[in-house]
């Protein structure tokens, strides 16, 4: 298990595509791991203190990681615990393992996730569990849970998997094909152009005028011949 702490206050954001694989590497290689500090290519050891603590495929990130992007990108197993806030693109392209963010997450959480689990205790930003620009499919598996609130664009083009958030903004499950999205609180527009899958909302939400009520749920999106379901929690 490794504990990472930023050595300095970052003037611009850092891009560190670190996964729990680091915990199984030689310390030398960990310190030499390439990260980006703006346009500067740096070693992980230049920017972070690295402490080895016992066994386990685990990373503990302590201190201010709110300006560190791409944590957990593509990870396949193991665990990452962020003791505070985390930067953008956390858990992007994740395939397995678990990420726990004890503070807040930023935009682009769990982009195109395929498996694994992300839990955020605080709030998160916009674009939760979505496809990246232009891609035709979004999350294909795995679980994203945000205990707090999120912004707009949740579960775009989702194919399968589970996303749960508190309150949210607009555009939940746009062009969804499968999977389940739960909004425990209130949100804005849901299910636009969805083809399949299910959205469950605890509080208020805005239904686009392209859904038909049937047996206490709403089915649609009619404009794409969709068989998606929107129901109240």
């Amino acid at each position: 298990m490794l504990i990472l702490r930023p050595k300095l206050s970052f003037e611009v954001h850092v891009e560190a595509e670190i996964t729990p694989d680091l915990a199984e590497m030689d310390l030398k290689d960990v310190l030499n791991f390439e990260v980006y500090y703006g346009k500067l290519v740096k070693r992980l050891g230049d920017l972070f203190d690295v402490e080895t603590v016992g066994e386990g495929k685990r990373l503990i990130l302590e201190g201010d990681f709110s300006r560190v992007k791409w944590i957990g990108k593509g990870m396949k197993d193991g665990e990452i615990v962020v003791r505070g806030d985390v930067g953008q693109h956390c858990g992007a392209y994740m395939e397995g393992g678990k990420i726990i963010v004890e503070g807040n997450a930023d935009d682009w959480l769990g982009t195109e996730m395929r498996g694994g689990e992300i839990v955020v205790k605080g709030n998160a930003g916009n674009r939760i569990g979505c496809n990246f620009w232009g891609e035709m499919e979004g999350v294909k598996g795995g679980k994203i849970i945000v205990e707090g609130d999120v912004g707009s664009y949740v579960g775009e083009k989702m194919v399968d998997g589970y996303i749960e958030v508190g309150n949210a903004g607009d555009f939940i499950g746009t062009e969804m094909k499968g999977g389940v999205i739960v909004v425990r609180g209130n949100c804005g527009y849901v299910g636009w152009d969805m083809k399949g899958g299910e959205i469950r909302v605890g509080g208020r939400f805005d239904l686009p005028p392209s859904f038909v009520e049937e047996n206490g749920v709403w089915r649609g999106d009619v404009n794409v011949g969709g068989k998606g379901v929107i129901r109240k929690l």
Binding site: F132, W133, G134, E135, M136
Partner: protein, 547 residues
């Protein structure tokens, strides 16, 4: 620029009847007969030496490909070249302009034709061409749905049409005459299309037959170096091979001893038999026969399975594609002139129709006379241009075709490809990528290594008659030239770009009398939204004017 000797290579130069070990000398950007003391000697022993490749049809510059990039960031995410000494370049099938130049050079290609320039946007097309490094380039303005053309053709005013063409080539720095779905694009402005050579456009009432023959008359009158370059009506529709045959037959009343009278582009997409997607089969045999007995040439339009982006001026067809693929769709209606449509596609090996299209392209490449066919993918419609080595290897190796056919849907009942054992030689491939394109375009300074030819030269690590069963070596060698010279400068070494240069833009100048078409110009410019005096391209980076 140093003078150079390429020593001991096996020169394949069919235009000059050369097929032997021969030294080649380069000075001041040209091939010379000999040099006493070359400043540099390149050892080409055990390798073949050929002229630089020429692509007669690839959508590499202008509003269409740029809109393709804009609407497909998922295509642009693939880094190819980092910005160290040279330029960065990105893209999967759609590439940025620097990447286009570098990838052509890395393949051993040194000249490219942008085949569809909407004249109103000609400044944009040339701005992009001027941003593509290394290769020489040309652009073909689109004429097949232009209101001026309809008017002149309707009144059989071939002299005025000739003057108009010359005026356009001068204004837009154009190289020749391109036609796409003649009359069909105008019909799309009325939500329609044309379905035969005799259907007429809704505005002027002229038919594709009249437009095609009228334009050929004017082109031959002007003695343009390149013939009519046509994307036939009914592209992409099962059963369309018949219209293709009829279109080719229109050339019979014309004669030209120097070159073809019509170049039918990406003919694979126009070689379909059958009545629907369910029973679609190959019509390539019929098309090849007709091509072989007429004075026409073709380029393949090979489909490469995987991602592609369809983009043509054939706007009604592009809307149909959108209805089928349901992905994204861009359209651009260009006032008075033409149109365009863009739809991303994925050619899947599991889908029989896509696999069949792949097979039909190869049938064309094997059945058409070796002097009449050019390798192309109608980039990016069929696939990437950097797949040309893959296509060449497929044409050269029956075994490779067999292996590839195992990965796709079964096309036995619909295509004769599985039974074709024809294997093109390396010399044939040189014809299909160098000699034919040069002759088709009417350029005598390239496509060969004779005296005074451009020193656009490529060394491939291959023997002159490679073993077709060792197709992996062929593919590897064709994809990684040992050396590429452009105008006598080394631009690629061992498959790596080492120098960023700028090529030439070639356009064709013919005298014209603006007064003769003055009334029409005056009249039609009332309907344009730009001023007549502002129309056209003021300059390009490096210009070569063919008179």
């Amino acid at each position: 620029m140093v003078s150079l000797e390429v020593r001991n290579g096996f020169v394949i130069d069919p235009m000059n009847g050369v097929f032997e070990v021969k030294d080649v000398f380069v000075k001041n950007g040209r091939i010379v007969e000999s040099l006493d003391k070359p400043e540099m000697v390149v050892n080409a022993k055990g390798k073949v030496v050929v002229a630089g490749g020429i692509d007669v049809h690839a959508h590499v510059a202008g509003g269409k490909i740029n809109m393709g990039r804009k609407m497909r960031p998922e295509e642009m995410r693939y880094p190819r070249f980092k910005s160290d000494n040279l330029r960065s370049g990105v893209g999967r099938v759609l590439l940025t302009s620097p990447a286009i130049g570098y990838e052509y050079a890395r393949m051993g290609y040194t000249t490219v034709v942008e085949p569809a320039m909407p004249a109103l946007y000609s400044i944009h097309t040339h701005e992009e061409l001027d941003s593509i490094p290394i290769v020489d380039k040309m652009a073909l303005p689109l004429f097949g749905n232009w209101h001026f053309v309809f008017k002149f053709v309707k009144n059989d005013e071939i002299e005025k049409l000739s003057n108009f063409i010359a005026w356009v080539l001068a204004k837009t720095k154009g190289f020749g005459v391109k036609v796409v779905n003649p009359c069909g694009v105008e019909a799309w402005m009325f939500h329609g299309n044309v379905y035969s050579l005799n259907d007429t456009d809704p505005l002027f009432g002229v038919s594709p037959k009249e437009v095609i023959t009228g334009l050929i008359s004017a082109i031959e009158r002007l003695k343009l170096p390149h013939s009519l370059h046509i994307h036939c009506n009914l592209l992409g529709i099962p059963g369309n091979y018949e219209v293709t045959l009829e279109t080719i037959k229109l050339t019979r009343r014309f004669e030209n001893s120097e070159r073809q009278v019509m170049h039918v582009t990406h003919v694979q997409f126009n070689s379909y038999a059958g009545e629907s997607w369910k029973d679609m089969s190959s019509g390539a045999e019929f098309v090849a026969k007709e091509v072989n007995r007429n004075n026409v040439t073709v380029d393949m339009g090979q489909v490469i399975l995987g991602h592609a982006t369809t983009m043509t001026a054939d706007s009604p067809f592009q809307y149909e594609l959108f209805k089928i693929f349901k992905t994204k769709w861009s359209n651009l209606d260009v006032e008075l002139e033409t149109g365009s449509g863009i739809v991303p596609v994925y050619y899947s090996p599991k889908v029989r129709v896509h696999s069949l299209m792949w097979a039909i392209g190869l049938e064309i490449g094997l059945l058409v006379d070796v002097d009449k066919v050019v390798i192309s993918t109608d980039y990016p419609n069929g696939g990437p241009f950097y797949s040309y080595p893959y296509i060449a290897t497929l044409l050269m190796s029956e075994k490779f075709r067999e292996e590839e056919m195992k990965k796709i849907a079964n096309v036995e009942r619909y295509s004769i490809l599985p039974s074709l054992s024809e294997e093109r030689t390396l010399e044939d491939v040189v014809k299909m990528t160098r000699v034919n394109p040069a002759r088709i375009l009417g350029l005598n300074d390239r496509g060969h290594l004779g005296e005074n030819a451009k020193a656009d030269l490529v060394i491939y690590d291959l023997p002159p008659e490679p073993n077709p069963r060792d197709y992996e070596s062929i593919l590897k060698a064709l994809s990684n030239p040992s050396l590429v010279l452009k105008d006598g400068e080394i631009v690629v070494k061992e498959g790596r770009v080492v120098k960023h240069t700028w090529g030439e833009t070639i356009w064709v100048k013919r005298d014209y009398d603006e007064e003769l078409i003055g009334d029409e110009l005056e009249d039609f410019f009332n309907y344009y939204t730009v001023q007549r005096e502002n129309y056209g391209v003021p300059h390009v980076r490096r210009e070569v004017v063919l008179c």
